[in-house]
Structures are given as C-alpha cells and as structure tokens.
C-alpha cells in the first residue's frame, strides 16, 4: 500500500511544486515588474471589454426570462419610486403651481395651493432622500454577476445562473488567491495592490506641489493608494485600530503624516496648527485631505469641512470616480470592517477608477473659507460627474441644522414679498407706525413650527 501511494505522493509534491513556481513567476513577470516599470500589456482593457459584453448578455437573458414569466424586472432607475423632474428653484415651482407664467405681482399674493409645494417636497424626502442614498451602496442599472450588488434581480434565467456560478469560481478560485498572494507580497513592501486597477489620469501638469494641499472626494481608503501611485503625500486622517492602524504607524516611520482622533477634531486649532506648520515647510510633501470627513458612496459630493480651506495656501483639487460596473469600491464603515471590506474588494471583478487632477485654486479676496470650500467642491463634482450636495457628511451620525429651514422660508417669502427689499422695508416701517395693533401677536403663531 505504501508502495503505491509513494509515487502518487511524489507526483503530488512535484505538481504542487511546479504549479507554485509557475504561479509566482506569472505573478512577478506579468504583474509586479510591469507595474513597477509602468509597462502595460493591454490586458486590462481587453478584460474590461469582455466583462462588459458578458454583463450585457446576462442582462438581455434576464429580460427575456422575465418577459416569459410575465414578471417585471425591477430596475432601480427606470422603475424608480419618485419621478424626478428637472431641478428647479422654489420660485419656478411656485410659478408653475399658480399657472401664471411670467406675470410679476407687486403685492404679496399667497395662495392656499402654495402648501402643495412643501407638501410634495416633504413626502418625497420621506420616501427617499439624498442623504441616505449617499451612505448606502449605489444601485446598478444592470446586474454585474456579483451577489452583493444584487438588488432585486431574482433567479430568472438558468443560463445566467450558470454564468454566475462560473463567475464565482473564477473570482474566488483565480482572482482572489491571485490578489491575496499579491497582497501578502505587497504589504511586506508596504504596498497593497489589487490586480487590474484601471487607471486613467488626466492633466498631469496639475499635480500637487510641495507646500500645497491636495483635496479629493472620498469613497474608500483605496483613494489614498491610487493617489499615492502617482506622487507622495502626507496624509491626514482618523487614527484607526487593527490592520489599518498598523499600516498607519508604519507609514509614520518613513514620512510625516498627521493622524488624529475624531474627538480631537473638536480641538480644531490643534489640527489646523499642525497642518499649517506642515504646509509652511516647503520641503515637505503636499498634504492629502478628504474634506468630506467620511466615506461617501461616489454618486455625490457632500459638504466640505472648512478647516482645510482656512489655511492660506494653494489647493489642488482632485476628482476620483469609480466605475461601479466592475465592483463597488465604497466602504460602508457602519456595515463592514476593514478586513471584510478588503475581501470584498479582492473578489470583485476589478476596481476601475478615473482620476482627474484639476487646476490649482487659491482663496480669492473677500471669499471666506466656506465659499472657497464650496467652489472647490463644485469643481470636483463637475469634473467627476457627481452630484453636488449641501449636506454634511457628519449626517451619517448627527442631525440637520436649523439654518437650512430658514433658507427655505426665506426663498418662499421672496416669492410672496418680491425682491424689492428697499421699498418694502421703508413701506413696512410706515405701516408699523400707523398700526400699533399689528403687534397683537397670536401666541400660537409665534411658536413657530
């Protein structure tokens, strides 16, 4: 018995040995060395194109299958729950409500129907709101054969199921081990790569220089890796524990980074001072900051915190946009931890992102930090094709401020009272003097809603 298993054992060992050698050679020759020298075999584009064709085919099969069974295939955008009309201001909507196009009124004209506007906006936000959307993964129009991106795409077609099964094999059997070995190699060199990171940089002359601050929209810690591919930065961010924390501490040994506790952010002066010192020193690398303060799901850009814009120096905006069809890069930190997230990343098809370096901006005369921040945010949103939102990323954890409500009230009052502030004010004063009883306040109305 031992006699017959011996050659098998030997054979097994030899096979194993050979396959491992082949594996590592493959890894080095085709991936690591070209990456180091910046050479590309064009495999990525081919792979991406093939994947896209497969997804389209799968989608067609599912639609056909759905028609046969007489079901409706639920697509998040075309079967959406709210019909979005082109975004218009409060004024425009009010005009439409009243049916009086372009006829200006000189006196306040309230109509009972005005309430419909607010009612509608209110109910829309109950059904679906922008903020919540930002903190959950983006829904895809067509399914990309990953269970995790499956939102209501049920089992409809056998062929698609088979394809999905095959996809699982490929992703977990080939891609995942490939990436894990890479990662292990990589981490020991302090680089973490996922294979097949498609990279399309633009406008390279706008790369951040020393003594500047680079700001970008934030979706995932991978943003850092991608930008670091292209230049060295000092990072500013929340100090983490676990694997992330280890990496952070290791990085500090080689170049200056600024890690802080979120609770310490309240002591904003401390952080601002550290930033200011770093930037003033022209020999130090540019700082990389994500002013949103938290990971957003890459369909929109949330409010930029003004802290980094208060420091007087050049700002280099960078827009990063991930292609969601190949794998969702968004790190939903309330749902997954770091390791879980990495696992998902590595078993996706690919992480494909576009990076745009925008021309540097400086704070203009008479512009305060908030306005400057909004200007930069608008530029980044415009370039990346993201929606520019006013909301605070901190809404992941806290509530809305009253200032926003006042804004709405102000807009509405302008519709009624008109833009003629000067005349109205003087008119008001006269009226108030004549009618002292106007102060007979209804107690309830002053309570305010």
């Amino acid at each position: 018995m031992t006699w017959s298993t011996f050659p098998v054992d030997n054979l097994l060992c030899r096979c194993l040995g050979i396959s491992i050698t082949v594996w590592w050679t493959f890894l080095f020759v085709f991936i690591i060395i070209p990456a180091v020298f910046g050479v590309s075999f064009g495999m990525r584009r081919f792979y991406m194109r093939t994947l896209l064709k497969i997804f389209e085919w799968a989608m067609l099969r599912m639609e056909m299958g759905a028609k046969e069974k007489n079901q409706e295939l639920y697509k998040p955008y075309s079967n959406g729950i709210i019909a979005k009309e082109p975004p218009s201001s409060l004024q425009q909507e009010m005009q439409e409500l009243r049916g009086s196009a372009g006829c200006l009124r000189s006196e306040p004209e309230f109509e009972m129907a005005d309430i419909f506007y607010f009612c509608r906006r209110g109910v829309e936000s109950i059904v679906d709101d922008e903020v919540t959307k930002c903190f959950s993964a983006q829904e895809l129009e067509s399914w990309n054969l990953l269970t995790r991106s499956n939102y209501n795409f049920r089992h409809i077609s056998l062929r698609v199921t088979v394809l999905w099964g095959f996809g699982v094999l490929v992703r977990y059997g080939v891609l995942l081990p490939l990436r894990v070995t890479l990662a292990v190699t990589g981490i020991s060199l302090l680089l973490v790569l996922t294979t097949l990171v498609g990279f399309l940089p633009n406008r390279e002359e706008n790369k951040p220089q020393n003594g500047g601050i680079c700001v970008a929209n934030h979706t995932t810690p991978i943003d850092v890796i991608i930008l670091a591919n292209d230049g060295c930065y000092s990072l500013v961010g929340q100090a983490h524990g676990g694997l992330m924390g280890m990496i952070q501490r290791a990085m500090v040994k080689s170049s200056p980074h600024i890690w802080f506790e979120r609770s310490e952010v309240k002591d904003r002066h401390l952080v601002a001072k550290r930033l200011g010192d770093h930037v003033a020193d022209k020999t130090k690398q540019p700082i990389l900051i994500f002013p949103e303060g938290t990971c957003i799901n890459n369909t929109s850009v949330m409010m930029f915190k003004k802290g980094s814009f208060e420091i007087a120096c050049t700002v280099y905006p960078v827009a990063i946009k991930y292609d969601p069809r190949f794998g969702d890069a968004f790190w939903n930190s309330s749902k997954f931890g770091m390791v879980n997230y990495l696992l998902r990343m590595m078993s996706s098809w690919a992480i494909v992102c576009s990076v745009w370096y925008l021309p540097p901006m400086n704070r203009e005369e008479g512009e305060d930090a908030v306005q400057f921040a909004n200007r930069v945010k608008a530029a980044i949103a415009a370039q990346g094709g993201l929606v520019d939102l006013i909301w605070d990323g901190g809404l992941k954890r806290t509530k809305v401020k009253d200032a926003f409500k006042e804004e709405q009230q102000k807009l509405y009052s302008q519709v009624l009272v008109g833009e003629q502030d000067q005349e109205d004010q003087s008119g008001d004063r006269q009226l108030e003097e004549e009618n002292p009883e106007g102060d007979r306040n209804n107690q309830d109305s002053s309570k305010g809603q």
Partner: protein, 201 residues
C-alpha cells in the same frame, strides 16, 4: 440571484395592500425597505422621532405637519399599512390598475389629495380652517422673513377670497372651489420613469 435582500413574504397582507393602494409589488417592496430603514429600533412601527431623522424633512417648513399627517389622532405610532395608505394618496391619477368595482373612490383621486392638503392646514380636524390655523401655517412657511403685519394681511386676503359663506373660516368645499381656479395640485408622482442622468448621477 436566489438571495434577494427581502421578499414580499415579509410584508403582512401584501396582496390586500396592493389592491387597496394600487402600488405595484416592486414599489411596495421598496417602501417596505424604506420603512424598515426609518424604523431604527426595529419595533415594526414608526414614531415621530423616526421621521424627524430625515434631513429633507427637517428643513421643510411644514415638516412637522406632514409628519403628523401620518399619525391618526391619538396614535403614537404608525405601522406599515397605514404608512403606505397615506403615501398612496400621492400616486398619479391616471394609473389606477385595480378596477375592483367598489363604489369607493380610489385613494389617489384629486379629492383625496386635496383632503390631505386641507388637513395640513386643519390640525384640529374640525373640518374648517380657522383664521388662527391659517396664520400658523403662514408663520411656519415664512418664519421670521415677514412681519406680523404682512402675515395678517396675507391671511385676511386669503380668507376673503375663499370664504364664501362668511363664517370666517374655510371649509373643505370652499377649499376645493379655490383650487378649481388653480391648475392640478402638484403631487409627487410615482411609477413614471426617472431621468437616469441628473446632474451626472
């Protein structure tokens, strides 16, 4: 594929609800997930605070009133069927798919929509919008942007225009008559296609 996040089985009386409200299965599912999302402590019912957590609602001047429209008088919580029934008012008029032959008018008829808006004004549900109630709403929508004087004159004008039987209050019929002059009330419409790209999203 086979493992979808939630299914119709979780929704109690789904068929009935669909008949009653006219929502499609997909929309009902979506609303159910939204309901679960809003229900932070997983009790199966929503409280006013749960609504208060919605950003867009918090900045709406009449947000509180809209929230209380979901709660029947005296009730502290709202369950999923009630939630959906209120939202059903906002379905567009032309898409009633269930002709089950009952005499009852559909949930999303024009009258029902107007009734909803009427109740936003008429908080004490006595069937009339008094001058005081009108002032309250105006104050909510305008905040500190107008003076008390202006507010009073606006309310005065509105009541004069609408109040036909001179009882210094606006009844539902008078409210409806005023709307005859204006175009169709604007309500969020569902089951019509979303523009897929909006500002690049």
């Amino acid at each position: 594929m086979g493992s979808s996040s939630s299914s119709m089985d979780h929704i109690p009386n789904a068929e009935e609800l669909m008949q009653e409200t006219g929502f499609s299965a997909a929309h009902l599912l979506r609303l159910y997930e939204r309901f679960e999302f809003l229900d932070k402590d997983q009790t199966g019912e929503l409280r006013p605070e749960d609504f208060g957590a919605i950003g867009g609602l918090a900045l709406n001047p009449i947000g509180d009133r809209i929230i209380s429209a979901f709660f029947s008088p005296g009730q502290e919580t709202v369950d999923f069927p009630s939630f959906v029934r209120v939202l059903a008012h906002f379905r567009p008029n032309g898409t009633n798919r269930t002709r089950n032959g009952t005499q009852q008018e559909p949930v999303n008829s024009r009258t029902r929509k107007l009734k909803f808006a009427f109740q936003l004004y008429d908080q004490d549900r006595d069937g009339k919008i008094s001058r005081a109630e009108l002032l309250q709403v105006l104050r909510a929508m305008l905040g500190i942007q107008v003076t008390e004087e202006q507010l009073q004159s606006i309310a005065e004008r509105a009541i004069q225009e609408a109040d036909l039987d001179r009882d210094d209050a606006i009844s539902f019929d008078e409210f409806k008559k005023v709307q005859q002059v204006s175009p169709h009330p604007q309500t969020p419409t569902k089951e019509t296609p979303l523009h897929p790209t909006e500002g690049g999203r």
